[in-house]
């Protein structure tokens, strides 16, 4: 059939292999074998209940399941403590290899790649919408709900519809203050909050070679904010070096394949972004798609600045923020909250002196938790309060009261804003302070 005489995208190749097919096309319904399944303290308890109702005694593979407490830990109240007990009890009963305890854990989407559990070509299913993050390492990964995750716990498989691919081609070298966060906010501002609905978002172009693994993970992290099912960065030398390094550190060496899209693969749409011309972006309340260049919102006063979340709480993010905050104080009117994403990152930041810088600046510092990103605790906003956050969602009520406003930005803009008390381009910090 002439229909089959063209190449495949990286996503199609991974899903073909996971379903034992030579080739799959967008729209195909497949049963895919799962490399790793993940749930957190919010989604695991419901998944465990569903797993028990399915009625099989044991999970499909105790080595391929990660249970990560990240949202309401250390327990914020008795109800949250009970959720944790349900997850912990299940992990013990099923002898789950990758159960992480509070104080040795972190935000799952930063923790699992750092722990060497993610490799190119994998199929990763997570009961958390930001499970699309892992695609930065060249794997297929997507978020599901608790019941779907229960099905994976029982069978090791999941039904998927092979997605069309939205290809984004970035060109040019990013400016000093521009990182993955600005690129993905720019993309979402172009396509809208559902512009990639049901699709895979493939990030390509010459800019990718300039991006750190941290920036790439931020790119794929926010695929879901554009409605996408998955985000993916084709693996290159940096990916291979990163994955091998992480595997070695944790004694988890295993072979992996670095697949890329064929030159004649078909894409539903191609979007071109000139990164060289890009300014840091800020998403205005209350949708990520309302992102504009920072210069358009400079001067907007805020009450709180949050540097953290699965989007921007990695070493690069912490170093950038610390470089601006070193020797400076957060503005008296600002509450600054900094949360390195994992215990390991917290330790590294401690060794590098970054935690001291944050503390000296007047920041409240925690570690290894989602914190105020989802309005759970540790910085919930009251009525009318305004927050600039490095997280991924500024929906109404996301970080607290329904009448609170949230702006999304990169860590440099966040640090600059913490110093001045109003939204500030980091290049203006020297002049202002």
């Amino acid at each position: 059939m002439s229909d089959d005489q063209y190449g495949s995208t990286i996503t199609e190749k991974i899903l073909a292999r996971a379903s034992g097919r030579e080739r799959v096309r967008p729209g195909d319904l497949i049963m895919a074998k799962v490399s790793l399944a993940m749930a957190n303290d919010i989604t695991a308890p419901m998944a465990i209940d569903a797993f028990r109702k399915i009625g099989v005694p044991k999970v499909w593979d105790r080595d391929r399941i990660a249970l990560v407490p990240s949202h309401f830990v250390p327990a914020k109240d008795i109800a949250s403590a009970s959720l944790g007990m349900r997850m912990r009890g299940f992990a013990r009963e099923q002898e789950i290899t990758h159960f992480y305890e509070v104080g040795r854990a972190g935000i799952e989407h930063i923790l699992l790649p750092e722990d060497g559990l993610v490799a190119p070509g994998d199929v990763i299913i997570g009961a958390d919408s930001h499970s699309c993050t892992y695609g930065a390492l060249g794997c297929f990964s997507t978020g599901v709900g608790s019941t779907d995750l229960a099905g994976v716990l029982a069978t090791g498989e999941i039904w998927l519809r092979v997605p069309e691919t939205l290809r984004i081609v970035y060109s040019g070298e990013p400016g000093k203050w521009v990182v993955g966060k600005d690129m993905i906010l720019k993309v979402i501002s172009e396509i809208g909050d559902d512009g990639a609905l049901y699709m895979a978002m493939e990030h390509s172009g010459d800019t990718i070679a300039h991006l750190s693994m941290e920036s790439r993970l931020t790119l794929t992290n926010m695929a879901i904010e554009g409605g996408a099912k998955s985000g993916i960065v084709p693996p290159d030398d940096l990916t291979v070096a990163y994955v091998k390094h992480r595997q070695e550190i944790h004694g988890r060496e295993r072979p992996f394949d670095t697949l890329v899209s064929d030159p004649d693969a078909r894409f539903a749409r191609t979007l071109e972004i000139d990164v060289a011309a890009l300014e840091p972006m800020v998403a205005q309340p209350s949708l990520p798609s309302r992102a504009v260049p920072v210069s358009e919102v400079e001067g907007q006063e805020v009450d709180q600045v949050f540097i953290g979340s699965c989007t921007n709480a990695r070493m690069e993010d912490l170093r950038t923020a610390a470089a601006l905050l070193e020797g400076r104080k957060a503005h008296p009117s600002i509450r600054l909250i900094v949360i390195p994403a994992t215990q390991d990152l917290y330790q590294q930041a401690l060794h590098e002196g970054l935690i001291q810088i944050f503390a000296d600046a007047g920041a409240s510092v925690a570690a290894g938790v989602c914190g105020p990103c989802l309005g759970g605790y540790m910085g919930v906003l009251g009525p009318g309060e305004r927050c600039l956050s490095t997280s991924n969602r500024n929906y109404r009520g996301r970080m607290g009261h329904r009448d609170a406003d949230v702006w999304l930005a990169n860590p440099a803009v966040a640090a600059a804003t913490a110093i001045t008390g109003r939204i500030t381009h980091p290049e203006n910090i020297g002049a202002l302070v």
């Binding site: 319904l29 009625g55 099989v56 109240d77 959720l83 709900g145 989802l374 969602r393 929906y395």
Partner: protein, 189 residues
């Protein structure tokens, strides 16, 4: 009962799962407790006004954002019989099928429907009627495989049957279904 009839609560676009059930209530999985706070950040009176069998009608991208299954659970537990939207976000779509909340994609009806209208949804045929406006349209149909999950009462009973019955297969779905022309758009994951 495959035909649902109810009074419409008309919502807009991008109704996300944070607004359906805010994270401050995610420390429980109790449906009755979640129902008390369903959509309260969009409209504090919603949990008080909503009645058994009511139908939510919304524009594009309903259920966007977080994967929390607490969202379709809360909607179902507060009595809503069905959600009709122009499009659904994909995780919410899967979650609704899995927990047994009837959802229907039917832009034609959404576009003519206002708060307080009465609409009727025939889940078996996919026919949606706005009785107030006297408009009838066909919903985007579910593929057979998904219909089997719905008919079983959700993914859990479906897998329970598959995995624990003596002649059950090892997994829950057809080996592969090759998309054919127009079928491509029928399944939203």
């Amino acid at each position: 009962m495959s035909t649902l009839r109810g009074k419409v609560h008309r919502l807009g676009a991008n109704v996300d799962t944070d607004v359906i059930i805010p994270a401050r209530y995610l420390n429980t999985t109790d449906p009755a407790e979640l129902a008390k706070h369903c959509l309260e950040d969009l409209d504090p009176t919603f949990p008080l006004r909503v009645g058994p069998g009511d139908i939510i009608v919304a524009d594009e991208n309903f259920g966007s954002g977080s994967s929390r299954e607490h969202a379709p659970v809360a909607i179902r537990a507060c009595g809503v019989g069905c959600v009709v939207a122009s499009t659904f976000a994909r995780i919410f779509f899967r979650n609704s099928i899995n927990v047994g909340l009837p959802i229907v994609e039917c832009r034609e009806i959404v576009d003519v429907t206002q708060e307080g209208d009465e609409i009727e949804v025939d889940l078996a045929t996919g026919t949606v009627r706005n009785l107030t406006k006297d408009v009838t349209a066909s919903a985007v149909p579910f593929p057979d495989f998904m219909r089997h999950i719905i008919e079983a009462g959700g993914l859990v009973p479906y897998l329970h049957e598959k995995l624990t019955s003596p002649n059950g297969s090892t997994n829950g779905a057809p080996d592969v279904v090759r998309a054919e022309g127009g079928e491509v758009d029928l399944l939203h994951d």
